[in-house]
């Protein structure tokens, strides 16, 4: 494959002239990428083994795995990890299921399709800051949600103070995640559904398959790549929840709703404990990576069984 090996055929004779060219095209982008992404990633790993001193000129002390040991013994870290896990579990499947359901309903082209598409996509393109403040407002003590559930539908005996307790606050944050993300899953599934050959569905119809059978036997396997893509991206995104927690509850009440990254942020930028913060970031990065690899492996095995 490589240009340098073997005899140089005629068609390739002009190649040596351009040998430096691809590198020149890569250079500026790769340089920025290495400086701003790769180097910091390695740096985070290194910092996690130090009692890191943020002051310029101060000597940071190498403390081995102490930061990691500390994390494993830190109940607040475990609480934040479980909150991130709950958020991930509670948001990934609903986003995919609802997104797929709406995509199936919207698959057939109709005059109203573009309108619905825009309405469902609106939360996706709105910034986390805006939608987080909006949800804080909706779930305020005298907010729209309490009014609807209590005064209007009479589903609750009294108003709920949503953000003042861990359980209900997590519900608000999860609902926000689902509400904001459904449109994205819908778009991906819509694109995937439009790529399913109609001949396949028609063949199943001729064979006498009902709608549900057709969906399970033809459509679902055909859109499997989109499902794999979505589940990997959403699991990663779910474990990385940060802005919404920071803005809706600020981790409160008293750290009860902290997720891993908001806890990391507090450790680093409030207590200036950059070494400990880095260790937390590294733990989460490893967790995300392992989960992504596992998911890809499981879905690939299942795909092979189906094929």
């Amino acid at each position: 494959m490589d240009r340098a090996t073997g005899p140089v055929p005629v068609a390739r004779s002009r190649r040596p002239r351009s040998s430096a060219t691809p590198y020149l095209f890569l250079l500026p982008g790769v340089a920025i990428f290495v400086i701003a992404i790769i180097w910091p990633a390695l740096q985070a790993f290194r910092m996690s083994f130090y009692h890191w001193q943020i002051m310029a000129g101060a000597i940071s002390q190498w403390i081995g795995v102490d930061n990691y040991v500390r994390a494993f013994r830190d109940p607040a870290f475990w609480l934040s990890l479980s909150n991130s896990g709950i958020y991930m579990l509670a948001t990934v499947i609903p986003q995919m299921a609802i997104g797929l359901f709406i995509a199936v309903l919207l698959k057939r082209r109709s005059p109203s399709q573009p309108l619905f598409r825009v309405l469902y996509y609106l939360p996706v393109i709105t910034s986390w800051v805006v939608v987080s403040l909006l949800f804080k407002y909706l779930f305020a003590d005298r907010g729209l949600v309490n009014f609807t559930l209590h005064d209007f539908l009479h589903l609750m005996h009294s108003d709920v103070s949503w953000l003042s307790e861990r359980g209900t606050a997590l519900i608000v944050i999860c609902l926000l995640g689902i509400w904001k993300g459904v449109g994205w899953s819908m778009m991906i599934y819509l694109a995937a559904l439009q790529g399913v050959p109609e001949s396949l569905e028609e063949a199943a119809l001729v064979d006498g398959a009902g709608p549900w059978q057709r969906f399970r036997a033809v459509t679902l396997p055909a859109i499997n790549p989109a499902t794999v893509f979505l589940s990997v991206m959403l699991v990663i995104g779910g474990l990385n929840v940060f802005a919404s927690v920071e803005l809706v509850t600020g981790g409160g009440p008293v750290g009860q709703t902290d997720v891993v990254l908001s806890y990391m942020y507090t450790q680093a930028f409030r207590y200036l404990d950059f070494g400990y913060g880095s260790a937390i970031a590294v733990i989460l990065a490893v967790l995300v990576f392992v989960l992504a690899v596992l998911q890809l492996r499981i879905t690939r095995d299942r795909g092979e069984e189906l094929a």
Binding site: P22, L122, L133, L134, N240
Partner: protein
Amino acid sequence: MTALAPRLRARPRAAAGAATTFRYVVLIAGAIVMVTPFAYMVATSFQGQAYVLTLPPQFIPSHPTTANYTTALGAQNFALYFLNSAIVTIISTALSVLLSSMMAFAFARFRFRGREVIFRILLAGLTIPAVMLLIPQYILARDLHLLDSLTGLIFFYVAGSLSLNTFLLRGFLASVPAELDQAMQVDGATAWTRYWRLALPLAKPAIATATIFTFLNGWDEYPIALTLINNPDHSTLPLAIANYQGQNATQWGLVFAASLIAVIPVIIVFLVFQRYFVQGLTAGAVKG
């Protein structure tokens, strides 16, 4: 089998009406859930402070006023925040699309030593979540004197978007036949000419997609701005709105008026370029 055939045909027709009704009921119910929060936000933004969070909630303000908008627009720094956001977003988007299309061109049109390795390292960037890099990026910014500066934001926004854009553009360029490129090469065109005159125009749909995604991400970005920017003069809109809410905890009308002004460019970009969204998402989903 013959007895089955008429039933098979009759059933869809009989069920078609009910199915369509069901379809629209569900779609409209869902749309209401998606839109109601926005409607309430718009209503609140036209509401005087005295009427915010009154019960029953008012979707059509009883005492409509544009005071929140005039206050937000007249506030000493709002125009500055808007301008900061525009500068950071436009420059970082242009730079990111330029640099990533150059890389995509190299990956799609050249064979060279290390191509796979470099591409894989770039792809790894997709799996490194941005927030995890906040601590070392903060220290890097401090060492490079990029704290509290728009240049710093641009630098990190460009870096953060290179992986996805290169991936997207390379996929598109690789799917375009290379014959034209080879023909131009035979005619003695330089690599830069082939990139600028041929590859870029050909990749227009993918470029549009990359541009839109990078623009939206930059316009909405919060964690990096929160970490790097301390001086209010260098705030971007998301940061300013978040701070705004903190300072004026109860002034919801004002917060939402500012939010809506900030959301408008995003909605315009989305409505104008809708079809490129779908194309871009397909590229990501199918090839991912």
